[in-house]
């Protein structure tokens, strides 16, 4: 084994340890609910808690809605900017970066001021409307990741030529976008979707201040009041997030020969 390959393996090993050791520690701790023996008691308690199922379902549904909304918003925008308005790219990139700079708590207080029950658009006036507001706020939070992922995907294909080829064959804009562009940036959209999913599942600030029954506030609640259950919950939420991402990948998988570009 050459020196450089040995170095690579050592780096991989270090990365794996860095990632798995805390996870193993958390897992091991979650098994100690009963004194003196390893048991799954903490898991049983968490899984039989009705709030667990309700909050994880709520957050999963919201995450999926956020992904759909994000894709609907970002893909046509990034496509159009790349195709027709390249001069606007720096501006849009700056706007999409704002959620990384502005703390979530500032955003949510802004929402509460603008969309309170006395405003023209009282989105906090009902539970469903607040859900909608929360979903849009998640779209904003995930914007930097989704936009960058999609933009990178678009960079890998020849957007201009593919668009013109589709148009010369008789395709209108919606057909071009849905049947030519979107399938060819599917891998990029998926990676944006994964990040969005991970953000939404664990998000606490917005859900808590908008008083919605999301998984983030539930995690915080358990973590603040119990000893072993939070560890079990952390492991379970890891497993659920990975499973959901896996399912997304399975359902959104493209044709076997699909690649993001031509040679």
């Amino acid at each position: 084994m050459t020196r450089s390959r040995l170095g690579s393996w050592l780096l991989i090993l270090f990365g794996a340890l860095y990632f798995f050791v805390p996870l193993l520690g958390t897992f091991e701790f979650s098994l100690r609910y009963l004194r003196g023996v390893y048991s799954l008691e903490a898991y049983r308690i968490v899984l039989t808690d009705p709030r667990f199922g309700a909050t994880i379902t709520y957050s999963t549904v919201l995450a999926l809605a956020t992904i759909v909304m994000g894709v609907v918003l970002v893909v046509p925008t990034a496509y159009w900017i790349r195709l027709r308005l390249p001069g606007l790219r720096p501006v849009v990139e700056f706007i999409t970066l704002l959620p990384l700079v502005i703390p979530a708590i500032v955003l949510v207080f802004g929402y509460l001021r603008i969309y309170n029950s006395t405003s023209v658009l009282p989105l906090t006036g009902s539970e469903r409307a607040t859900d909608l507001l929360l979903m849009f706020s998640y779209v904003t939070l995930a914007l930097p990741y989704m936009y960058r992922a999609v933009d990178t995907g678009l960079r890998a294909i020849n957007v201009h030529t593919l668009t013109e080829a589709a148009q010369s064959l008789g395709a209108g804009w919606p057909t071009t976008l849905l049947r030519v562009i979107l399938p060819n940036v599917r891998a990029a959209v998926l990676s944006g979707a994964f990040l969005t999913f991970a953000i939404v599942i664990g998000e606490f600030t917005m859900a808590s201040l908008l008083d919605r029954p999301a998984f983030g506030p539930y995690l915080q609640l358990i973590g603040a009041n119990r000893a072993y259950e939070p560890s079990a919950l952390a492991i379970i939420s890891f497993a659920i997030t990975w499973a959901c991402m896996g399912l997304l990948q399975v359902f959104a998988r493209g044709a076997p020969g699909q690649v993001a570009g031509t040679r």
Binding site: I157, N158, T161, L162, E164, A165, A166, Q167, S168, L169, G170, A171, G172, T175, V180, P183, N184, R186, G254, A255, G257, Q258, V259, A260, G261, T262, R263
Partner: protein, 357 residues
């Protein structure tokens, strides 16, 4: 009546004039090539015909109908692009079928048409392959089939061979011509490769800086260039700046040498002209330095390049100008570098152009 007409097309991008008033017409079934260097406006003209650009002035008329402002998706024009443009997420077959699906063609007719086209391009075995599993030449063949699938009113080809290697380029251009002739489809082709243009076209339009320099058959363009630009751009050329000595006899003076040039007949004595001679009509002979033959230009061989059937010689004349002469390679051994030679051409093989103002 012309099938496709470009009438007074003008187009600028900022301060850059891409087209400065271009008029062209194509007959039904004609293969017309726009030829010129980068930036001459040929691709802009093609893109205006396709509908991807809108002219600042002028019209595009197809079968008597003004289509200048018709959306590209409604023009029924098949296009093959310079860049590989197959949809990466679709197989070759799905790519070819795409336009027919958009038009909601019946399934049976669709399959038949796709089969016919794959037979036509000779890639029936590659129908199920994805673009990344095809070579560049195969991809461009499939792109051609895809453009033909919709039975376009005009086939547009924007330098479709420029990304391919030389052998595939020659092979594919012959196939394009064969298919175009078989189908009788009106074709507008853009290239910067003059050999390609000559090989496939019914007529060639040489363009420079947004203007049409000359329109003619490949033989006319090559053999009888109208302007110094065409003469220089199409093929290799020798040009001598000469003075007419006798417009009746057809004689000019080139650096003290009296040359016979039929094409100067009728010109007035003393007029300065450009005499244009192709390398293949220049004949070289060894010269011992004494008694220079009449009507011959003396010089020294300064370089030679083997090109296969011919060898190309560069001959310096009076240490400044250089003539280029193609000699059959079987005879090339007689002219080593450094040899003194004389170059001659038959009076009827030279073309005469006016000096640019």
């Amino acid at each position: 009546m012309a099938y496709l007409e470009l009438q007074g097309l003008r187009k600028s991008f900022g301060d850059v004039v891409a087209l400065g008033g271009v008029d062209l017409s194509l007959a039904r079934g004609e293969f017309l090539t726009l030829l010129g260097p980068s930036g001459c406006g040929k691709t802009t003209a093609l893109r205006i015909v396709a509908g991807f650009e809108t002219p600042d002035e002028g019209r595009v008329v197809l079968e008597g109908q003004d289509i200048t402002h018709v959306a590209p998706s409604r023009r029924d024009m098949g296009m093959v692009f310079q860049a590989y443009s197959l949809f990466p997420n679709m197989t070759a077959e799905q790519n070819v079928e795409f336009g027919l699906r958009i038009r909601r063609a019946p399934l049976e007719g669709r399959s038949k048409r796709v089969t016919e086209l794959f037979d036509l391009i000779g890639l029936s075995d590659a129908r199920k392959r994805y673009p990344h599993q095809l070579s560049g030449g195969m991809q461009q063949r499939v792109a051609l089939a895809r453009a033909l699938a919709i039975e376009p009113r005009v086939l547009l080809l924007d330098e479709p061979l420029s990304a391919l290697d030389a052998r595939v380029r020659v092979q594919l251009r012959e196939e394009i011509r064969r298919i175009q002739t078989n189908l009788g489809i009106t074709t507008l082709y853009v290239t910067h490769d003059q050999e390609e243009a000559m090989a496939v076209s019914d007529r060639v339009v040489v363009m420079s800086r947004g203007h049409v320099e000359q329109i003619g058959s490949p033989a006319e363009i090559y053999g009888a260039p109208d302007t110094p630009f065409v003469a220089e751009f199409v093929g290799t050329i020798n040009w001598f700046e000469a003075e007419v000595l006798d417009g009746g006899q057809g004689e000019v003076d080139y650096r003290g040498t009296r040359l016979r040039v039929d094409a100067v007949r009728g010109r007035s004595q003393g007029q300065r002209v450009i005499v244009v001679v192709r390398p293949e009509v220049l004949e070289l002979e060894r010269w011992n330095g004494e008694h220079r033959p009449a009507g011959a230009i003396a010089g020294l061989v300064i370089s030679r390049s083997f090109l296969g059937a011919v060898t190309r010689f560069k001959v310096s004349v009076e240490d400044r100008a250089a003539l280029i002469a193609d000699v059959a390679s079987v005879r090339a051994g007689a002219f080593p570098i450094g040899a003194q030679v004389v170059a001659r051409f038959a009076p009827d093989t030279a073309r005469v152009l006016n000096l640019p103002p």
